[in-house]
């Protein structure tokens, strides 16, 4: 059997399981369930909290993660490679462990005296930031690596100052990659559970986000509401991933053949 035929069979089986898992949730939900969910003030508070914390964490990821990605893309030293590995750690270790480490860190007296992050919204933001910022760093790094520094230099020979040459060329060319990283970061923040629960405490109406709300609905026996909230989150994620793919398809050739 040809290798392509084997791979085709494998991908079809995998897609079937993915689809089955996603579709299975639809049997437990419906328009009535969605309507009920939006009448639930606890869920609405969780939605608002999720949006607030995830957007702030994503903003921090943009401010700190994009320059870090740029640095890693333009430097290939032992230090930069070490930093690259370091930033991957939140991706490879369980979020709950990241939460435990953050709680420990925030309990250091000098930090605690500065601000008490535990069981607060800023604490939840910090948890989401640390879990999700690697996606921004990685995507930015990859996007910047695709842009040769010569564009900036040519822009400078044409009279642009260094900052302008960067934003006119490298940044704009890398932007679709950066944006896709930011969307992934935001989705990761929206879906963050373990670290947010550990640091934020999941206090209903105060530090409860959508995944914590779903978890609490499930353990309290309200299976239907939990599944409906989950389905809505999946819908949001699918829409965003679709958007990223369209964005990339449009820009891929232009970037590579400039």
């Amino acid at each position: 059997m040809k290798l392509s035929s084997v791979s085709r069979i494998i991908v079809v089986i995998l897609a079937f399981f993915f689809g089955a898992i996603l579709i299975s949730g639809l049997f437990y939900t419906g328009f009535r369930s969605i309507n009920d969910l939006f009448q639930d003030s606890g869920f609405l508070q969780a939605v608002v909290f999720s949006l607030q914390t995830s957007l702030v964490a994503t903003a921090f990821a943009f401010i700190l993660g994009v320059p870090s990605g740029f640095f890693l893309a333009r430097n290939n030293t032992l230090v930069s490679r070490f930093m690259d590995v370091l930033f991957d750690i939140p991706i490879v270790i369980p979020p709950l462990i990241v939460g435990v480490l953050l709680v420990t860190f925030f309990n250091i007296p000098i930090i605690r005296n500065f601000y008490s992050f535990i069981f607060t919204a800023p604490g939840a933001i910090a948890a989401q930031f640390f879990i999700a910022v690697p996606f921004t760093i990685k995507s930015s790094k990859n996007a910047f690596e695709l842009v040769p520094p010569i564009y900036e230099r040519i822009a400078m020979t044409l009279g642009a100052k260094p900052v302008k040459s960067f934003f006119d060329t490298t940044y704009k060319i890398a932007f679709p990659g950066i944006l896709s990283g930011l969307i992934l970061t935001w989705l990761r923040c929206i879906g963050e559970f373990g670290a947010t629960l550990m640091v934020g405490g999941g206090i209903p109406g105060k530090t409860e986000n959508i995944p914590i709300n779903v978890y609490l609905q499930m353990i309290s026996g309200d299976h239907e509401k939990g599944v409906t909230a989950g389905i809505l989150t999946i819908g949001l994620a699918l829409a965003c991933i679709l958007f990223i793919n369209v964005l990339f398809l449009k820009n891929r050739n232009r970037i590579s053949h400039g």
Partner: protein, 358 residues
């Protein structure tokens, strides 16, 4: 006019570039890896030299002693490298006008239209770089560099990735434009033919150093160094002992006469392979071929398309490389091991000094 006297050490490699140019078409010629691109990058300001000065058209761009290093954006330099550098996020028109807008120059529509027509890209203004061929991309990049009226145009083998027909037409176009606009152009190449066609002046770079520079005829026809002669395609270069009456003797014992006047330290005989002529026994030889005759047998024959490259060993052990037009090769019916007589044209013999024994 340009004056460049700079030195740079990179990863234990020392680079030394010292030359000046008077004309508007200067070629920097040398083998790959000799440091030509580094030279252009230092003129552009991408790297600072460790010491020295760079003066272009009476403007000091860099001086280590004077603590001057103009930032790239103030140097007013047009730079066209080998790779395609059109900004992929901008249309052709946006690319072309980028420098003018950045420098807040007045956009003269008629001048832009004229240049676009001249470069054959007028119909491509709304396209993106992705839609253009390699030749069109470099034409647009050239237009972008020229529209800001650069102090100097630096061309770093910009057409080497293109096929030969397009490369030749673009090179001729750049010659015309450089002359029409009277813009000083520094053209980097490792192609001898291209260097000859483009350059009014030639700067020879080898192993990170300028080994000779001067007018095209001086460098091509009468190189001072044996190393230069080698790069200029002389190929036949032998150490000789100077005798009286314009005569030299090779180590193998051949005595040749020459016509030029050379300094005492010139102790290498150089002659191009096309200036060694086969002597036919059936017809009388021209007067200038009656001297410098040697006998030998052909040991190698290489067909190069328009000409044939032959290697001949003389009875005394001297090896000569000879180029001969294909039709002449056929007429002479030359074969391997055939005994022949050749003459070194005395007016084509150049005496050079060894660069390392100055």
């Amino acid at each position: 006019m340009i004056q460049i006297h700079i030195a740079k050490t990179l990863k234990n490699n020392r680079f030394l570039f010292s030359f000046s140019g008077e004309t508007n078409r200067i070629v920097v010629f040398g083998p790959s890896g000799s440091g030509k691109t580094l030279l252009l990058k230092m003129i552009s300001g991408f790297f600072d030299p460790d010491r020295g000065d760079i003066i272009i058209e009476n403007q000091l761009l860099f001086s280590k002693k004077g603590k001057v290093s103009l930032p790239i954006h103030q140097r007013n330099i047009g730079y066209l490298p080998q790779e395609y550098t059109l900004f992929p996020n901008m249309s052709v028109k946006e690319n072309i006008l980028y420098g003018m807008k950045t420098r807040k120059l007045q956009i003269e529509k008629s001048r832009i239209d004229r240049l676009m027509e001249r470069l054959g890209i007028a119909a491509k203004l709304d396209h993106f770089p992705d839609d253009l061929s390699g030749g069109q991309k470099q034409r647009v990049a050239l237009a972008r560099a020229l529209l800001v009226r650069p102090r100097i145009l630096l061309l770093d083998e910009p057409f080497s990735a293109l096929d030969s027909t397009i490369r030749e037409s673009l090179r001729d176009l750049v010659i015309d434009i450089a002359d029409e606009m009277n813009v000083v152009t520094l053209f980097v190449t490792h192609d001898l033919e291209e260097a000859f066609i483009f350059g009014k002046e030639i700067v020879l770079v080898n192993s990170g150093e300028v080994i000779e520079y001067g007018s095209r005829s001086a460098v091509f026809d009468s190189p001072v160094n044996a190393e230069t002669a080698d790069l200029m395609g002389f190929i036949n270069i032998w150490p000789v002992t100077r005798l009286q009456n314009h005569e030299v003797r090779t180590k193998s014992g051949h005595i040749f006469t020459y016509t030029g006047d050379y300094a005492r330290e010139c102790n290498h005989l150089c002659i191009r392979p096309e200036n060694i002529m086969f002597i036919r026994e059936d017809i009388p030889s021209k007067d200038n071929l009656k001297k410098n005759m040697v006998n030998g047998s052909i040991t190698e024959i290489h067909h190069r398309g328009k000409y044939v490259n032959l290697v001949m060993n003389t009875e005394k052990g001297l090896q000569l490389t000879i180029n001969l037009p294909e039709h002449a090769f056929k007429k002479l019916k030359l074969t391997r091991d055939k005994q022949c007589k050749v003459s070194l044209k005395e007016e084509s013999i150049v005496l050079c000094r060894s660069r390392f024994n100055r």
